[in-house]
Amino acid sequence: MAKIDKSFVKVRNLKKYFQTGTQIPFLKKPPAVKAVENVSFDVFKGETLGVVGESGCGKSTVARLLIQLIKPDAGEIIIDGLAVEKRGGISTRDLRHRMQMVFQDSYATLNPRMPIEESIAFGPISNGKKPSEAMLESKHFMDQVGLDPNIYLHRYPHELSGGQRQRVNIARALAMGPEVIILDEAVSALDKSVEAQVLNLLTDLKSDLKLTYIFISHDLNVVKYISDKVMVMYLGEVVEYGTVEDVYNSPKHPYTEALLASQPSMDPSRKLKTVPITGDPPNPINPPSGCKFHTRCPKVTDLCRTVNPKLQSTDNVDHLTACHLASNVTEVDVLNAQKGLNS
């Protein structure tokens, strides 16, 4: 069976609105938070996709949607050619053998009353593996993440350091035998030296076990280090998608430019080229019209205020952006479009 489509995880038009409050009969429907809107992307096998964006831009919601902790309102998730929760596709239960997730808060994600051995074995046991067998295997997974089973097997989460706990969380994800691991800010809460160790561990595991990562972070340096592709999100939408080199060296979207420009540098001679964006992102309950970034964009035009740009390829086919100014549209087109809108 020849596969033309190389993408391993394929997401199309994912949408999730969160209802604020409950609907009372005969009253106006309470407003919805538009957490994720029209998100589409591809992850190839063995690649790492970095997802960046400000707090509240929907990064974590995308992660939770992918692993079906929350159900999407619309859109489809296809893993290895099988649509999740669709006829002829893959059930949520089976999905969890192929996709796992590591959360940000290493302490809160471990049951404080459960020795870590049991925490690691919990997934396999609840999927029908014999407890004795799963417990034995958890030793192997601890070895794999660099924790000495002889010392830590019967420990409780509060007896471990943050880095060790995050290793336990990774081991727990590995115990399910996944092909894709979603890392939702998995290293953000660790201090820098531990973060580096865990990142190296992740890189090693990736090549040893042929894993695919979806790496969510707000730290641009970390994303650059670990990712092959980057996806930039703003207010629930994808604004730019491309390889790390393309996005970091020639960002096409003003938001990406601003994000990269706002990054502090170790080099004192390197001054900020552009003014970093100021202010908070707009309220996702009532997002701005047109391009959602137009309220903070330094290059805003009239077209941006009315028409929401589509995600499309730029001069490079694999480098996508949702910006009227950066796509193949020339300035003349923009001017014409503006004239058309004004008349």
Binding site: M101, P112, M114, G123, S126, I151
Partner: protein, 286 residues
């Protein structure tokens, strides 16, 4: 730290070591164990028959020969009656709370975990019971179904179900929102397995501690019921009932009349302090 690195302490070992450094809790636990033992072995320990009346010795003061703690208004040995009285008071304290724990905790777990309409139905039903003060509710139920130990137990159980449900619902909702429940769901565990191995383990400690603090309330309400003639009926020895019948003699021999009250006070105080100590010893966030 490095000295015991190869000997990890289990959770209960660390709880025990923390309890060992808490003299108040240990003392209270000791007193409670003492009272329980006295009640269990009452026939062996009590120096006299608690129902033997002696008109000549009515309201004998503390320290009278043959009556180490005096005698009550019918000349019965106070010491023996106090020892026997513990039996009913402890049953009235422990049994309703235990039954209410089983029913209330299950209701609360279901309401908290399932949420939505189920939660609304269970919790609003409990709220109806909350409209009455607990002692009034106990009196009303006992008054409606009649006096007696069994009816007293029943009314006390009904009184304690709503607060235990509410506490366990709150704790369940709290635990359910924690990330490790999400992590468990992400590893494909079923709801019943999540409740069994993640929620109950973490919720039972706090619920249990709340229940130990209810034991003292239960003893007091039970005494109140007996005092009002709705619980145990004479000549049964029960601390609340003894307090009720002796109160007319308070001006004759106040020390003897105060003794059942002292027992109720000591027992409930010990249960309260012990639940306090257990709570801090079982707290995971150190």
């Amino acid at each position: 730290m490095s000295a015991n690195i190869n000997k990890p302490r289990t959770y209960w070992q660390s709880v025990r070591s923390r309890l060992r450094r808490d003299p108040v809790t240990l003392t209270c636990a000791g007193i409670i164990i003492g009272i329980v033992l006295l009640s269990i072995f009452a026939p062996l320990i009590a120096p006299a028959n608690p129902y033997d009346a002696n008109m000549m010795k009515r309201l004998a003061p503390i320290g009278s020969p043959g009556y180490p703690l005096g005698a009550d208004e019918l000349g019965r040995d106070m010491l023996s009656r106090l020892i026997y009285g513990g039996r009913i008071s402890l049953i009235m304290g422990l049994v309703p709370v235990f039954i209410a724990l089983i029913i209330g905790a299950s209701c609360g777990l279901v309401a908290g975990y399932v949420g939505g309409r189920t939660n609304m139905l269970i919790m609003r039903t409990m709220d109806i019971f909350y409209a009455f003060p607990s002692i009034m509710l106990a009196i009303a139920i006992s008054g409606a179904i009649g006096a007696g130990i069994e009816n007293g137990l029943l009314s006390l159980t009904l009184v304690f179900i709503p607060p235990i449900t509410r506490v366990s619902e709150t704790i369940t909702v709290q635990i359910k929102s924690l990330d490790f429940i999400d992590a468990a769901r992400a590893s494909g565990a079923s709801n019943s397995r999540i409740i069994l191995s993640h929620i109950i383990v973490n919720a039972l400690g706090p619920i249990f501690i709340y229940c130990t603090s209810l034991v003292s309330v239960s003893i007091i309400i039970a005494s109140g019921l007996s005092f009002l003639g709705l619980g145990v009926s004479p000549p049964e020895a029960d601390w609340g009932l003894m307090l009720s019948t002796l109160r007319q003699s308070i001006y004759v021999n106040p020390w003897v009349c105060a003794l059942p009250g002292v027992m109720i006070f000591t027992t409930s105080l010990c249960f309260n302090l012990m639940s306090d100590g257990l709570r801090s010893a079982m707290d995971m966030k150190m």
